[in-house]
């Protein structure tokens, strides 16, 4: 199979044969159609098989479980869609989705905006020799295991922890409290950990994006007398659309599927003020014996993530079109 065969523009057809042998021509045409329709699928097939075996099947099974009332052990009863109904009606589960929305702000919103600002500032000094050092340091939170991250922050947030010590040092002792134990600050405290971990990822993505922008573009706007911010909005931001879309996809997904941080730091508490959908799914499947309901929560969460990913992908769509 050569490239010419696939292009199907006729140039590859040997002159004599094509004219005299219609049958062959038709066969060939059919062959190339087969190739153009089936071949791409063959390329994807290995990946699909892996997906189907390790994720797809489990997804189907979870969807099946979600239609049953089951404690994970004994007999199950088919209950149709009533687990989904409960997912939307149970105040605890409903609020867990709202918590996930709040976390999105901290996991995705703030890191992207701050990283953009930092990108503008840093990219001007990108000739610095220690740049790679900074990148490594900023990216570090992404590399550390999330359980380690959570454990570090638990001690920083504790009553005698680093954050309260700093507040005391600045004579702000009145503000000190157990950050993870307070209803008004626990969720935000978890969000801040997310901001800390995701910031580096966004920054590294944006910095590499800026590196790819043609320098001529900047020169052109500078000649037109644009200031730093005009330059940012005219060139940097539009050129970074692809990177921003990638960063948003990754961070928003990480916000919605947050589990490890909550599991290690608060287990959904105090009360249920930091419960998130993934925690609810885990807790109900393994601790309270509500496997059906847990599966429904997981399915809703999956659908939600797919929709959000698709929506974010639309940001990038114009560029590729």
């Amino acid at each position: 199979m050569t490239r010419d065969d696939e292009s199907g523009d006729g140039r590859s057809v040997q002159p004599g044969l094509a004219a005299s042998n219609e049958e062959y021509d038709e066969k060939k045409l059919r062959g190339s159609r087969f190739r153009s329709i089936i071949a791409p699928y063959l390329y994807v097939a290995p990946a699909f098989v892996v997906f189907a075996a390790f994720l797809g099947w489990q997804l189907v099974q979870t969807a099946e479980y979600s239609l049953f009332d089951w404690d994970g052990l004994g007999a199950s009863t088919f209950v149709g869609l009533s687990n989904y109904l409960e997912t939307f009606q149970d105040p605890e589960i409903r609020s867990s989705f709202i918590h996930a929305l709040v976390l999105t702000l901290f996991y995705a919103g703030i890191p992207v905006i701050v990283a953009l600002i930092l990108t503008v500032l840093i990219s001007r000094s990108s000739k610095m020799k220690v740049m790679s050092f900074y990148r490594t340091v900023l990216f570090l939170p992404q590399v550390i295991s999330s359980v380690v991250v959570a454990t570090i922050w638990v001690s920083m947030y504790s009553q005698n922890g680093f954050i309260n010590q700093i507040l005391n040092a600045f004579h702000l002792g009145g503000l000190t409290h157990a950050w993870l134990g307070d209803y008004s600050t626990a969720l935000i405290a978890i969000g801040v950990v997310g901001t800390w971990t995701n910031m580096g990822l966004c920054l590294v993505l944006f910095l590499s994006g800026v590196g790819n922008i043609e320098p001529e573009l900047f020169e052109a706007v500078r000649l037109d007398g644009a200031n730093k911010w005009q330059e940012f909005f005219a060139i940097t931001l539009p050129e970074l659309r692809g990177q921003i879309s990638v960063a948003l996809t990754l961070t928003v997904i990480s916000a919605f599927k947050t589990f490890d941080l909550v599991f290690v730091t608060t287990r959904g508490g105090p009360g249920n003020s930091t419960s998130v959908p993934a925690w609810e799914a885990y807790n109900r499947a393994f601790n309270t014996g509500q496997v059906g309901l847990a599966s429904a929560v997981a399915v809703v969460l999956t659908v939600l993530i797919v929709i959000i990913t698709w929506a974010i992908g639309r940001i990038d769509a114009k560029e590729t079109a």
Binding site: L73, H177, A178, G181, G271
Partner: protein, 451 residues
């Protein structure tokens, strides 16, 4: 138009037939398999070469040491048996055991948590077998007090806890009580409290003297069960709370339970309990007490080794509370039940092993390694005024008075969740005592409806 409607019809009918197919073959066992109980025997030697798979949760304090010794001794006694031990922490075991039991090749012996969430669910699914036949064979009922056996018993359908069939026996004894720092106590001129009222007035003295009265951390959520159970059992009495947890009578909104909740909230308001307790981990509350920063700590007997090592064996004491009319009443009882799975191919060997690691000889090994066995040998007399002595005294006293109250999370399959979240709300004054008990009752009532 017509075409699209037909297509829609096709989709709907396909979807509904798919639903029906799914409905026909749901997850889980279709019916609880009935275990065939054949003749039982004490004969282990003639069983041939056997590998016994055992899942336990003996990971804390002196327990791993004790278990290792017992397993080695058992294998020495029966060279034809190899024990394959899988040891996990309590919470890990709780989450993984269900999956292991529903597999085709489950372990032979498992440690199952009592009450409706675990043991009840296992029995309903037919995954562990009743051991009444082995109890008779090994005479467990004359070794164990009936109350302890009751905690490990269920009805055969798994719906009534403390029913007629025995499903396992327990290795260790447990009680939740209050640890006190003897140095601080002498300094303040106090004697160990015996009732909640006394405890309260001593906490007031400590507070006045600028000493943290009760160190308590509830970040991990589970300590809430201990604190609430500690106060509730002393206020409502063991019979009442036992019936409540069992589901045979009573209500979580009764006056004694509401009063227990009110008392705890009152302690928060007066500053008796560690400030911002919801943000303090159980470990750091324990280490605050161990380092002499607090007068009291409500905790279980499993902390014996830790506190004795940190504070000195004679500088820390342990006491349980009596009810108003002087009856000992404390939450706890015994460790997890050692049970035999229904699919085990060697129930005789499993039973011999359970007998070996749980009864009198095992008790000696447990004591030697700093643990509290479920049945204290009558000859056991620890060194005077040590922590071990005060724990042994309290354990004997509560057992003699039949004052054991089961852990409150045994109540329903979702009760752990409801109670722990509710306690955090109560401590943070996000809910009133009546709102808190109302939540508990709601969970309880809907569980009883389903039973």
């Amino acid at each position: 138009m017509k075409k699209s409607r037909m297509r829609l019809m096709a989709i709907v009918s396909m979807a509904s037939s798919l639903m029906l197919t799914i409905a026909a073959c749901g997850p889980g066992a279709s019916t609880a398999s009935q275990t065939k109980l054949g003749d039982v025997s004490k004969d282990v030697a003639s069983a041939g070469k056997v590998t016994l798979v055992v899942w336990d949760q003996n990971t804390d304090g002196g327990m791993p040491q004790a278990q290792k010794e017992l397993n080695a001794e058992f294998q020495k006694k029966y060279p034809n048996v190899t024990i394959k031990r899988n040891s996990q922490s309590f919470s890990d075991l709780k989450t993984t055991l269900k999956l292991a039991l529903s597999s085709n090749n489950p372990p032979d012996v498992v440690q199952a948590n009592q009450g409706y969430p675990d043991m009840g669910a296992f029995i309903q699914a037919g995954m562990i077998r009743p051991v009444d036949d082995y109890a008779k064979l090994y005479d467990w009922s004359s070794y164990y007090p009936s109350k302890l056996l009751k905690l490990n018993s269920f009805s055969k359908d798994g719906k009534t806890w403390q029913g007629k069939s025995l499903y396992g026996i327990s290795q260790t004894g447990e009680l939740v009580g209050v640890y006190y720092n003897k140095t601080l106590m002498n300094q303040l001129g106090l004697k160990p409290p015996t009732t909640i009222t006394e405890l309260q007035s001593e906490m007031a003295v400590a507070k006045k003297a600028g000493i943290q009265p009760l160190s308590f951390g509830d970040l991990d959520k589970y300590p809430g069960i201990h604190l609430f159970g500690f106060v509730q059992s002393a206020m409502a009495g063991s019979t009442y709370v036992n019936d409540l947890v069992k589901g045979s009578s009573g209500s979580w909104t009764s006056s004694a339970t509401v009063k227990a909740a009110t008392t705890i909230q009152n302690w928060v308001e007066k500053g008796y309990i560690t400030q911002d307790a919801n943000g303090v981990s159980a470990d750091s509350a324990a280490s605050d007490f161990a380092s002499g920063k607090a007068l009291f700590n409500v905790n279980g007997t499993w902390q014996q080794q830790t506190y004795a090592a940190a504070m000195g064996n004679t500088n820390v004491g342990f006491v349980t509370m009596d009810t108003k009319d002087g009856k000992p009443s404390a939450m706890g009882g015994e460790g997890l039940a050692w049970a035999i799975t229904s699919k085990s191919k060697h129930p005789d060997v499993a039973a011999a092993y359970i007998d070996f690691v749980n009864t009198s000889h095992a008790a000696q090994v447990l004591l030697k390694t700093g643990n509290l066995p479920s049945v204290l040998p009558s000859s056991y007399e620890p060194e005077k005024s040590t922590l071990a002595a005060s724990i042994a005294t309290q354990y004997r006293k509560v057992q003699k008075a039949d004052g054991v109250v089961p852990y409150l999370d045994y109540t329903t399959s979702t009760f752990y969740d409801t109670l722990t979240a509710g306690m955090q709300n109560l401590i943070a004054r996000q809910s009133t005592p009546t709102e808190f008990t109302g939540e508990l009752q709601k969970d309880y009532a809907s569980f009883l409806d389903k039973q």
